[in-house]
């Protein structure tokens, strides 16, 4: 379908989904839900239960911990996975600093999605490894 086809095309250009075939990309596009956030809206809320996993298709977000900006996210970045993997509420707010188009997967659906798409899981691990490396660099 056109909407999902467009999303599948967008996904093909993102590192996390770059190993998937076209039918797999279309399946992912149908599995995730497209969500749009106006500028200034909170997407993830620090300390609240029940959050989800987001992949940014367009736009920019800020990560804020206790109101302090820690990082920015943009197209291709993802967030929300840490709290889902650990079963804990998010430790940061994520706020849209421009209109933001995302793909959303509810927390309870993330495990089965990643297990069913091991190449996506591998790419996600790579991204997490980079984040860990950068965090360690800042500390050293």
């Amino acid at each position: 379908m056109a909407g999902q086809d467009e999303i599948a095309d967008t996904l093909a250009g993102l590192a996390m989904f770059s190993d998937l075939s076209t039918p797999q990309l279309q399946s992912v596009a149908h599995t995730f839900e497209e969500r749009f956030f106006p500028e200034g809206e909170r997407i993830l809320r620090q300390g609240l239960t029940g959050s989800g996993f987001f992949v940014i298709l367009d736009g920019q977000c800020s990560i804020l911990v206790d109101g302090q900006q820690r990082a920015t996210l943009s197209r291709g970045d993802f967030f929300g996975e840490v709290s889902i993997l650990l079963g804990e509420p998010p430790v940061a707010d994520v706020v849209a600093t421009t209109p933001v188009r995302t793909l959303f997967l509810a927390g309870p659906a993330v495990e089965s999605f990643l297990v069913g798409q091991p190449r996506v899981m591998y790419r996600m691990l790579q991204a997490q490894a980079r984040r860990l490396r950068n965090a360690n660099r800042w500390r050293s």
Partner: protein, 507 residues
């Protein structure tokens, strides 16, 4: 009472205009009138009902109304069990739907739902300028501020505030090669037409399964296909997915009865001799699979008929081309343009655990329409909303009653919340219902937000949010297998939370 043939609201200037005459528009117009907000209502249709004047195709709703419920018909608590009546203040205008049903099902027939909406419009004297289609829109900047100019078949209307309740009922089909050989759900033929035919249905949403269910006794073979697996509401434990009434084709499929449900993308439709061939590609292994069919039906959904609003800056997203909205259902980029009815699902709220609110259905958006009316009345028309005082000794019972009975928070879980504010000057005040996202993100003084939530496992439970000293805390109360949220355990936990507001209550 107004006759439906009246022609009120001639072209001109109005403080507020509502577009539509389906349940969303009727509910919102009713609520505006009760708050004293003068407005015009315009509709392209000849009579009330919106999409229910025509659909569902097989003429019975998915939303139930229980004529016999655990609580008295016509009470506020009864709204939990009656998903189809609109909301009225006057006892005689409440719970109209059950009195119009013939007892054959607790899902009203389409004609019964239409009669319910017509009766509501007549009895509550909702005036609508029917057969006056909105055709285009432009903006005029005036010394008094921005005006939206709606061009209609009858002339031009000017207003600073417009509420579109135009549904999501414009058929949409993808641009797949050969799609012209298919036709949309909206153009499905009488069921007997498909006797002995092979029918290919594109899509696995509710509308696809509704068609498949209705054609089981007619079609020789039914194939449903889309890239991702079918979801079932009894599995998602939400309204997401195919509703239980339409699961029969799924059972037929898994038992090998002749219905096929494919996870495959649709690549092309072509004609070969006297039949159609649908070329698909399987999601699991990428292999091509050709399926022949006599008829191909695109149950690929509907979009919001926003006409030229995107040219005014109204941003849209998603499969249904929904507008980007604030928590109070205002366009995020075109101030003064609001939405009511099923389009309010575009403001998704928190979607905690992935569970959506029920804004896409009457039993959810009827409350949004009322909250929006209060919001518009107070922010744009200077109406001072009542904020009744709450006796501190009564707060515990107030919270428990709301959790047990409140239809707004039961139907709009984690989406609407009842708010009680606390201040040294005004004491405890019942601020009514607001979108939960607004409460969480807008800041303000000490207050308690009361709501019900669900996590997709089948558990339904109360959640309280306390804002004290500028800090928000979330308090998840236990689920109950019999939905009893006034147990000693719940009472004790609520007492703890309201203690944060400085209210001491006996357990």
């Amino acid at each position: 009472m107004a006759e439906l043939t009246d022609r009120p609201f001639p072209p001109g200037d109005y403080p507020l205009i509502v577009v539509g005459s389906g349940p969303g528009a009727l509910q919102h117009s009713y609520a505006l009138s009760r708050l004293g907000v003068r407005h015009a209502v315009l509709s392209a249709d000849p009579s009330p009902g919106g999409m229910f004047r025509r659909w569902p195709f097989f003429q019975r709703l998915l939303s139930w109304t229980k004529p016999y419920a655990p609580v008295e018909r016509g009470t506020r608590a009864y709204e939990r069990f009656d998903w189809n009546s609109l909301l009225a203040d006057e006892p005689e205008n409440r719970a109209l739907q059950p009195s119009l049903m013939d007892g054959s099902s607790y899902f009203p027939a389409r004609t019964e739902m239409e009669a319910n909406l017509v009766a509501f419009a007549r009895r509550t004297d909702i005036r609508v300028r029917y057969e006056c289609p909105w055709e285009s829109t432009r903006v005029e900047e005036t010394p008094q501020g921005r005006r939206y100019v709606l061009t209609t078949s009858d002339g031009e209307y000017r207003t600073p505030t417009v509420v579109f309740a135009v549904g999501i009922a414009e058929p949409w089909a993808p641009s797949t090669p050969g799609m012209e050989l298919a036709y949309h759900y909206a153009d499905t033929k009488p069921a007997e037409t498909y006797a002995g035919k092979c029918v290919f249905i594109i899509g696995k949403q509710v509308s696809a399964f509704e068609l498949a269910t209705g054609l089981l006794q007619w079609a020789r073979r039914i194939v449903l296909a889309s890239p991702s697996p079918a979801q079932l509401s009894v599995v998602t434990k939400t309204l997401v997915g195919v509703r239980a009434r339409y699961v029969q084709p799924y059972e037929d499929h898994v038992l090998g009865g002749g219905v096929f449900i494919l996870d495959a993308s649709i690549e092309a439709i072509s004609r070969r001799g006297g039949e159609l061939v649908v070329r698909t590609r399987r999601s699991d292994n990428g292999q091509q699979l050709d399926v022949d069919a006599d008829d191909v039906i695109a149950a690929t959904g509907f979009v919001a008929p926003l006409r030229d609003l995107p040219s005014l800056g109204v941003a849209t997203f998603g499969h249904s081309k929904l507008p980007s909205l604030t928590p109070f259902w205002e366009s995020s980029v075109a101030p003064g343009i609001f939405f009511a009815g099923t389009i309010t699902q575009a403001a998704g709220g928190l979607k905690k655990h992935g569970v959506p609110a029920n804004s896409g259905a009457v039993h959810g958006h009827r409350y949004n329409g009322r909250v929006l009316a209060r919001h518009l009345a107070s922010t744009r028309f200077g109406v001072e909303l009542p904020r009744p005082s709450v006796d501190p000794d009564r707060l515990l019972d107030f919270v428990l009653e709301e959790l047990t009975q409140g239809p707004e928070i039961w139907h709009q879980r984690a989406y609407l919340a009842r708010v009680v504010s606390a201040s040294p000057d005004a004491g405890l005040r019942d601020d009514g219902f607001v979108p939960l996202a607004h409460f969480l993100d807008s800041g303000g003084g000490d207050a308690l937000a009361i709501t019900i939530e669900a996590d997709g496992t089948g558990a339904i439970y109360p959640v309280l949010y306390a804002r004290t000293g500028g800090t928000m805390s979330e308090h998840v109360l236990p689920a109950s297998p019999v939905l009893d949220f006034a147990s000693p355990e719940h009472r004790e936990m609520v007492v703890d939370v309201i203690g944060k507001l400085g209210v001491q209550a006996p357990v």
